[in-house]
């Protein structure tokens, strides 16, 4: 139990944080294909982690902290770009894709010159794991997640309005500059906290909000709880499978979320096109 509980908590936290980040980003860009990794924040966190590992700073605290620093650095870059590209979300998304590639390239660069031990532990980290590093970090992250959930719960109507378009949001009384900054800030924080502790967990951020919408939900006051529940369930189930499939060995959970998530995603598409 003492082993299981923190693991389940971390999985649930990561699933919920990534799912909420995915929901906010899909609404923000009015694009159902956007996922938290796309803005480059996960890759930035990965870069921070890989730098820490290659410098031999792989301690329990230092690794998530440097991942968090990497994510924050990327966030700062995105906010700066967001200010430069005022009102142009398509370009902001493209800029995120570019940052993502840049961070991925830097990771590969560091890995290619690093030694074998570095390579192995870095790759293992990048594949994602729900092995708890530190309790205080998880508790602090959960507090931050709850704050983000409360913020979203208070903004559900504004998020509904946002999908009409930016001009319409202005017409209905939303200060779009503030709201843009808030959405970007909250999503980046969520991704940074999740990736810093669990590494590269793919597909949950894309899949959970998608499934919630596929259930016929459209308003954010319903999408929010559904997305959170789906995100947590997906993460906890993936972790369970990761531990059981090739017992007593363990699969990296990031591999599993993608292995299960990608076909599930394709299936959703096929079913939509048939109906």
């Amino acid at each position: 139990m003492q082993l299981r509980l923190p693991r389940i908590l971390l999985a649930a936290f990561t699933g919920a944080a990534l799912a909420l980040a995915g929901l906010l980003l899909q609404t923000f860009f009015r694009n159902p294909l956007v996922e938290p990794g796309l803005l480059g924040i996960s890759a930035g966190a990965g870069l921070g982690a890989v730098i820490a590992i290659s410098l031999g700073l792989g301690g329990l605290w230092l690794l998530p902290l440097s991942a968090f620093a990497g994510a924050l650095g990327t966030l700062a870059l995105i906010l700066l770009l967001g200010r430069q590209l005022r009102g142009n979300n398509a370009e902001l998304l493209l800029a995120g894709v570019a940052i993502n590639s840049l961070a991925a390239a830097l990771i590969n660069l560091i890995l290619s010159v690093g030694d074998a031990t570095t390579l192995r532990s870095a790759i293992f980290w990048l594949m994602g794991s729900f092995t708890l590093s530190e309790w205080p970090l998880l508790l602090a992250s959960m507090a931050a997640l709850i704050a983000c959930i409360i913020w979203t719960a208070r903004k559900t109507q504004a998020l509904d309005v946002w999908q009409l378009g930016e001009s319409e949001a202005i017409h209905l009384g939303i200060n779009i500059h503030h709201f843009r900054r808030q959405i970007l800030g909250v999503t980046s924080l969520l991704v940074a906290l999740a990736v810093a502790q669990s590494g590269g967990i793919g597909f949950i951020g894309l899949l959970a909000p998608h499934m919630a919408r596929r259930l016929g939900l459209a308003q954010h006051r319903l999408l929010l709880p559904a997305t959170l529940a789906l995100g947590m369930t997906l993460a906890v189930l993936s972790d369970l499978l990761a531990r059981r499939l090739i017992y007593p060995m363990e699969l990296p959970v990031g591999v599993l979320t993608a292995l299960v998530g990608a076909p599930a995603f394709l299936l959703l598409f096929l079913r939509r096109n048939r109906s």
Binding site: D160, V161, Q163, G165, I170, H171, L172, G173, A218
Partner: protein, 262 residues
């Protein structure tokens, strides 16, 4: 509501799309006419206050609403009094007709019994009762336009005082069939008769002539006419606006000019 524009201009990149427009629009029904690309939509969007937030839509000159610069209006107060019907809507909207219409309640702090009653009224006015639970994405172009009109209508009607309502509509008759165009016309006329300020753009000169009491014309971003419907019996005025010869007759019912491009 009185909207005053003083020497308003606007650039899109290096192109100047509006030049030095000075007009005052107050209670009543005013149409903004002109050929495609004359600057009608840009002018309306500036009047809605979009220039404050959207890069590339920064106006030169000043716009006042009830004597206060538009940019100084608190956003929420403005949203309670001013609605805007855009010409183009988002390609994809999640949710059913009811969800989309109820977004109009946002600036008014959500629904209540009064809001629900108005929502029901909006459904019946725009003949949306049978569509209320349909997905917006499944609707036809004309049906979507009616949903957007109903949303605008609801946003305005939630403000209790007619004289405190500013309707801005960009090509409101787009995609509507004739019965619904007529309904739209009746509504705009009724609203303005009750004291609201209705300011809409259209390229359909006959719709404007039969709906509005005043027509403002733009030509290549320049103010080119500000006239009453009866002034349009003069072919020269029409030809100055649209650059093509016109044939003018009169509508058998209300006697207003009825025009055709030759």
């Amino acid at each position: 509501m009185t909207l005053v524009l003083e020497n308003v201009g606007c650039h899109h990149g290096n192109t100047k799309v509006l030049h030095d427009i000075s007009i005052a629009v107050s209670a009543g029904c005013t149409a903004l006419i002109g050929a495609n690309g004359a600057g009608k939509s840009t002018l309306l969007r500036l009047c809605a206050g979009e220039g404050r937030y959207l890069h590339g839509l920064k106006p030169d000159g000043e716009i006042f609403l009830n004597g206060t610069p538009l940019a100084s209006w608190p956003l929420q107060d403005l949203a309670k009094r001013r609605s805007f019907l855009p010409q183009q809507h988002a390609d994809q909207l999640h949710g059913c007709v009811r969800d989309i219409m109820c977004l109009a309640m946002y600036p008014h702090g959500g629904g209540g019994d009064h809001a629900v009653a108005l929502y029901q009224q909006a459904l019946s006015i725009w003949e949306l009762d049978s569509l209320a639970c349909r997905h917006y994405d499944d609707l036809s172009g004309g049906e979507r336009q009616r949903v957007q009109l109903a949303r605008t209508w609801l946003q305005m009607r939630l403000h209790p005082i007619a004289s405190e309502r500013l309707w801005l509509l960009d090509e409101p008759q787009t995609a509507l069939d004739l019965p619904h165009q007529r309904r739209l016309r009746d509504h705009l006329r009724q609203e303005s008769a009750e004291g609201a300020t209705v300011f809409f753009s259209t390229h359909d000169i006959n719709f404007a002539l039969r709906t509005a009491d005043r027509l403002i014309a733009l030509r290549n971003g320049v103010l080119c006419a500000d006239a009453s419907p009866d002034d349009f019996s003069d072919k020269a005025l029409l030809e100055r606006i649209f650059d093509v010869p016109f044939y003018v007759t009169h509508h058998p019912v209300d006697g207003r000019p009825w025009v055709m491009a030759e």
